[in-house]
Symmetry: C2
Amino acid sequence: MGKITTQLTEARAGRITDAMREAAAHEGIDPGRLAAMVADGKAAIPANRKHAALKPRAVGRELKTKINVNLGISRDCADVEAEFAKVRGAIGLGADAIMDLSSSGDTGPFRRRLVETSPVMIGTVPAYDAVIRLDKALKDITSDEWIETVRAHAEDGVDFQTIHAGITLETVARLRGKRRKTGIVSRGGSLLFAWMSMTGRENPFFERFDEVLDICAAHDVTVSLGDACRPGSIADSTDGAQVSELVALGDLARRARERGVQAIIEGPGHMSLSDVQANMVLERRLCDDAPFYVLGPIVTDIAPGWDHVTSAIGGALAAASGAAFLCYVTPAEHLRLPTFDDMREGIMAARIAAHSGDIAKGIPGARELDDRMSEARRNLDWEGMFSLAIDPEKARRYRAESKPEREDTCTMCGAMCAVRNVNEILEGREVDVK
Amino acid sequence: MGKITTQLTEARAGRITDAMREAAAHEGIDPGRLAAMVADGKAAIPANRKHAALKPRAVGRELKTKINVNLGISRDCADVEAEFAKVRGAIGLGADAIMDLSSSGDTGPFRRRLVETSPVMIGTVPAYDAVIRLDKALKDITSDEWIETVRAHAEDGVDFQTIHAGITLETVARLRGKRRKTGIVSRGGSLLFAWMSMTGRENPFFERFDEVLDICAAHDVTVSLGDACRPGSIADSTDGAQVSELVALGDLARRARERGVQAIIEGPGHMSLSDVQANMVLERRLCDDAPFYVLGPIVTDIAPGWDHVTSAIGGALAAASGAAFLCYVTPAEHLRLPTFDDMREGIMAARIAAHSGDIAKGIPGARELDDRMSEARRNLDWEGMFSLAIDPEKARRYRAESKPEREDTCTMCGAMCAVRNVNEILEGREVDVK
């Protein structure tokens, strides 16, 4: 293999890479400070050596919260060009990362084209693709074949891979003994659970974790340690299965870093708002502050059709409490594959959650945007408001659809506009409000 | 006046009213326990003696979080029948209260019809209506005329009225001295600010507060103490103006209770997520745990078009931390009057926030809904999921728009459905996932 160099090994050696410089510039921080976070495992820069189109970005608790968009081809949505329209849309709308969760079809060309054309981080889940690319039943997949899928994705230039190494035969026994309300809802986790149950063999991603790490190190792939026991219901959250796996993921993250591989930790999931902050503390302690990548948290189970909202609530509090990376959730969650419009809503909700979290934890530069918006509001500067809005198109359209009687106000208050009238009074003029 | 009796005086006298019984039944708690909360001012049952159509409900920190919907006629939306279609829609979608914020036109008949036909609590803001119903300039409104508007609304059967008694000449001087980023954004607050500035006179709602209370006591109108200094930007939140007013509102609430009048406190507003919990603690201490009615909190300023999401984030954490009553916010906030569809989105987002808060603070019965949904999910019981969904129509429509290859799964994962495959394995069957 020769001597490996990754962002982590370089940072430990005190060298500042171009990727660190570029990612630090995006954050508006000193590259040396970012390098120190990377060296400590508190930030990761997922950047496969082969991903030439990438604009490197860092994820970490003290950095701007990033958002991921899930896309990919499937049997029910096999139109490659439609999916690439989504990819372009997602990047335009502000996605920081795209995970290719293709579940059917000719995944290799799709993945390679995605890497070639995307300036954002690309992630994959090799457990899915092992099932798709091999012409055999799940239980007949060999240990080698699971591992070789990691290598194939690494060679294709993927920046981070979800590795479900935390679920083991011991987990399987635990889950059989005490049934959770919703068992395993992680797709990759369920595949390994089924494979282990049917073959009686240990999880190859766990058993051969060092081999996985060597593959990742050779291409500087960041391991995203998958949480197979992610709670699928409020009832199952912060239970033994979830917390035991988090302990295991912390151990695996340390092994990754020791081998020069950057690691991030995947997390919940469905969870009461009352548990979110404790879960962020738990991850920080158990996993040495490795970047925490959360799916949600979805704070109520009863809102299918509105899970972009339930996850914005949980995601905002998670980010405010230390999560570094939010996986978007769309209104289609729990119901069907998302359309382009669903994706748009999911991205906006996730960006709002991320930004709200950044304001709350005092990320430099976050609040300035809000201050500029508030000044534009006080000045009734509508063009200024639109240009600062997270979704200028929607803001502009909403106002245009309902013309106010006074140009400077809006139809919500009309002549009773508080902003206008207070401005007038403070400038020494009288007002009427009819 | 004779001897007044209100829910508060009755509760203090140890009598349990029909309204207490009905509201307690809705909560699933003992009427005596609710009466004790009402006696302490920790819960309010806004129920005007004249509001015959009302199904009484209580608001309070230890009760189910309630949501309010703002409606009303205005110059830009003067179609009374269209507005009543919204009223019926709001009630059908789960509003617990409707505030009539009419800002123009023939408001009396609208208000009386609203009270006559509505089973939910009705609130108004007399400061707006004084301006509308009187054929004179704002500065020429007399002190008597402001107060008489409260009486008119009380006689029309309104259950709660926003009384902007916390803003005084002292506040005016403070706001002139140190300019906030967004000054006063409360519409009623800005009217009184302008009136005081132009006339040099003290706020009549403050100066003649005891008269206001006597009117409210006579009809058992709950005073909702308005926060004129509600922050209109993250920058202005939890500042001297806001906190001083909250101190004053606590004093006014005590005066109300001493006079037998139920009181609730209105609150923020735009606010960083990091400040929400502290604000809930502050209100509880300064106002003796009087029910807290919040508008948002809106956790970032930069998302016009998406403020149903920004306020769901803040509202959920507020409810989880003690807020009793959430005012809905629609995607049209800051841009225009809401349409029916905007109202629908605002209600769903507010209901999600309220329910998420109820789960987090352990309101009895809240989590049970989620548990039943999770059981339906584990059983792939789609009809069960739809019937338990907060928005059955949307959930059903989303799934119907994208038919899966296997009837029991959905197009998100298809044959890789984790729930289905884990169920199969746990029942001792093998699975394939192609």
